[in-house]
């Protein structure tokens, strides 16, 4: 987007372009010193540019293939704040269609999910197939003979690709391939979605929160320093991961700079395989042949692992439980931090289980995921209560006037705690004692800074 092109905000005003560019520039100037101008977490002009430069250009998660298993199955989804239909068409192909009639723009799909052979606009009745083709125009013979229906199908997201079940879309037709964009992150993602055939259980949790989408994306990128304080109440209650409760000893590896994405991996050194707490009968259904020996070994030792795929998809694969009396299970929770306005987001939260596990095991996976990370999750509720406070400070005049920054210098400038691991088998910059470094979070904000340039960097 060029400088002189007016960018309209949600209230119709034009933001002061120079000031936004200066604020974005100040992130670039300070981030390598571990300082982040906090105003970017609650600023209308920044938010409006994020909608365009981040959600309008990058690959954004849309849904998991198992959410629409049958032809005609659909779910309404959003790319940034734009409405799309995530649908499996009659030929079993996955489509991501712009949810807006080509005639006057109304939503052609108004149900959150379902199964349908067609989408019919409620305004004048234009009707589309699940592939988006326009196949019905009332009064076509009398008034629309001139209309080239082949040229009036529903618009599609220009780029749609799946990475082993995780479907992403990009609004920018010039975006690099999904695999190129995930880059080094695939080495880590493979351990969850390639090694294991995962299945979404039911419908995502959705709730709206007064927190900027970047705050949880940053947190899941690798803020392992907050766990003893932020989650003390849940840990005291004996729940969550076996590593957090001290049930198992582990080393924490922070993986920064995995092509702009970040991961944290708790590794349990033991003869006994860990596999995120999945029991042997479930692990039997995994696919070691799809991993390298190095990936398999990391998976074998994995306690909790978590991460953020830029921009707004995070996950946690947690070996743990929602009550100390019940057996630990491996729970995989995908979460998307959807922008909903400056300093506001909607959380989308999916719980996944290995497809070939028993129904009883899947139920335990669900309960354990819901009891830890969801709107009622005993871990999540305390995160959000804390994050809301950041939003208030970020929106302050004081922060704007004084360029207030927040601190990302842990383990830097001579502090020895986090050690670079030279012989780690996977890609990225890897640190052991990973709870004592901010490099993962800095990776997230570097990706943000790069993505927020006026011209895409490609």
């Amino acid at each position: 987007m060029s400088n002189n092109e007016a960018t309209r905000t949600t209230d119709g005003t034009t933001p002061p372009t120079d000031e936004i560019e200066a604020l974005i520039g100040s992130v670039g100037e300070q981030i390598e010193n571990g300082q982040l101008p906090v105003s970017i977490l609650h600023n209308e002009a920044v938010y409006e540019q994020e909608r365009r430069r981040i959600f309008g250009r990058n690959w954004v998660f849309v849904g998991h293939e198992t959410e629409i298993p049958e032809p005609g199955d659909y779910r309404q989804r959003y790319i940034g704040t734009d409405p799309f239909i995530f649908v499996r068409d009659e030929n079993s192909e996955i489509q991501v269609l712009f949810n807006s009639c080509r005639h006057r723009g109304s939503k052609v799909c108004r149900s959150e999910k379902g199964n349908s052979s067609h989408f019919r606009c409620p305004y004048h009745g234009w009707t589309y197939t699940t592939s988006g083709d326009l196949v019905g125009v009332p009064q076509q013979r009398n008034a629309y003979q001139h209309l080239d229906t082949a040229d009036h199908g529903l618009h599609e997201a220009p780029r749609v690709e799946s990475y082993h079940g995780l479907v992403f879309a990009a609004l920018d037709s010039n975006a690099p391939s999904l695999e190129a964009s995930l880059g080094d992150a695939t080495w880590y993602l493979d351990m969850y979605v390639k090694f294991i055939d995962m299945e979404v259980i039911g419908d995502p949790h959705r709730w709206e929160v007064e927190t900027d989408w970047k705050t949880p994306a940053e947190n899941f990128a690798g803020d392992n320093y907050h766990i003893p304080m932020g989650h003390k109440s849940a840990i005291d209650a004996g729940i969550g991961s076996d590593t957090a409760t001290g049930e198992k000893q582990s080393d924490l590896y922070a993986i920064a700079e995995a092509s702009g994405h970040s991961f944290s991996l708790y590794q349990i050194e033991s003869e006994e395989p860990s596999f995120w707490g999945h029991p042997p009968e479930v692990v039997d259904g995994f696919h070691p042949e799809r991993l390298s020996d190095e990936q398999y070994e990391v998976a074998r030792k994995s306690g909790v692992t978590l991460g953020t795929i830029f921009p707004n998809l995070s996950f946690i694969h947690l070996g743990g439980t929602n009550t100390p009396e019940k057996e630990s299970v491996g729970t995989f929770v995908l979460r998307q931090w959807q922008p909903k306005g400056p300093g506001r987001m909607e959380v989308w939260n999916w719980i996944l289980a290995p497809e070939n596990a028993s129904d009883a095991y899947k139920e335990r996976v669900y309960e354990s995921g819901m009891g830890t990370f969801s709107a009622s999750g005993n871990f999540e509720v305390d995160d959000i209560a804390i994050w809301n406070g950041i939003t208030e400070a970020a929106g302050s005049v004081f922060a704007e006037q004084h360029g207030t920054t927040t601190n990302f210098t842990m383990g830097r400038f001579g502090d020895a705690a986090p050690e670079r691991v030279p012989d780690w088998p996977g890609p990225g910059e890897v640190y052991v004692h990973g709870g004592l470094t901010d490099e993962n979070q800095l990776t997230f904000y570097r990706s943000w800074y790069d993505a927020m340039q006026e011209e895409p960097d490609r």
């Binding site: 039911g202 669900y366 009622s376």
Partner: protein, 169 residues
């Protein structure tokens, strides 16, 4: 209990529902927990926007809460911890319970339906979170009093308009 008059039965249910709402509003969650049975089944299913013809808007797989006695105990224990930041400082909650109707009755249990409106505020907020729902409860006659044996909370929300569900509905 079949011998009770319809009016007396409904009054007993109302008395129970108002009493437990009062305990929860007052943050006396441990006392509230004494009112649930050991085999409590407490659920808040996820709701989705569906076409009118769809069978059900409520999921039978996905829940905001799906609790038994043990998992409720964990939640209550956590809420009483000073480090439970979502409720310290606590949210202020007022439960409005209305439209109480007895749906069915046998010797041991009464099925009862009511409407629930929770007025919830935090810190300096002036516009409250409003949570609206129908409750389907099973109340069981025990030696000394009625207790809650099952509760399903059918929310009027697909996207929850509150920061977290760190309260009992």
């Amino acid at each position: 209990m079949n011998g009770d008059t319809e009016h007396a039965r409904r009054s007993a249910c109302e008395e129970f529902l108002y009493h437990e709402a009062h305990l929860l509003d007052d943050r006396r969650v441990s006392e509230w927990f004494d009112l649930v049975t050991e085999d409590i089944d407490y659920r808040v299913p996820v709701r989705t926007t569906r076409e009118r013809s769809a069978e059900d808007e409520f999921s039978d797989q996905s829940y905001h809460l799906k609790e038994d006695h043990e998992s409720l105990r964990v939640r209550i224990e956590r809420l009483e911890n000073d480090f439970a930041w979502s409720e310290n400082p606590p949210s202020r909650n007022r439960r409005f319970v209305s439209n109480v109707a007895v749906l069915g009755v046998d010797d041991a249990e009464i099925d009862v339906r009511c409407n629930l409106l929770v007025h919830r505020s935090h810190e300096d907020e002036t516009s409250p979170d409003l949570l609206s729902a129908e409750r389907r409860d099973t109340l069981r006659r025990t030696d000394d009093r009625l207790r809650l044996a099952a509760r399903t909370v059918l929310l009027d929300h697909t996207v929850l308009p509150t920061n977290s569900l760190s309260i009992i509905l």
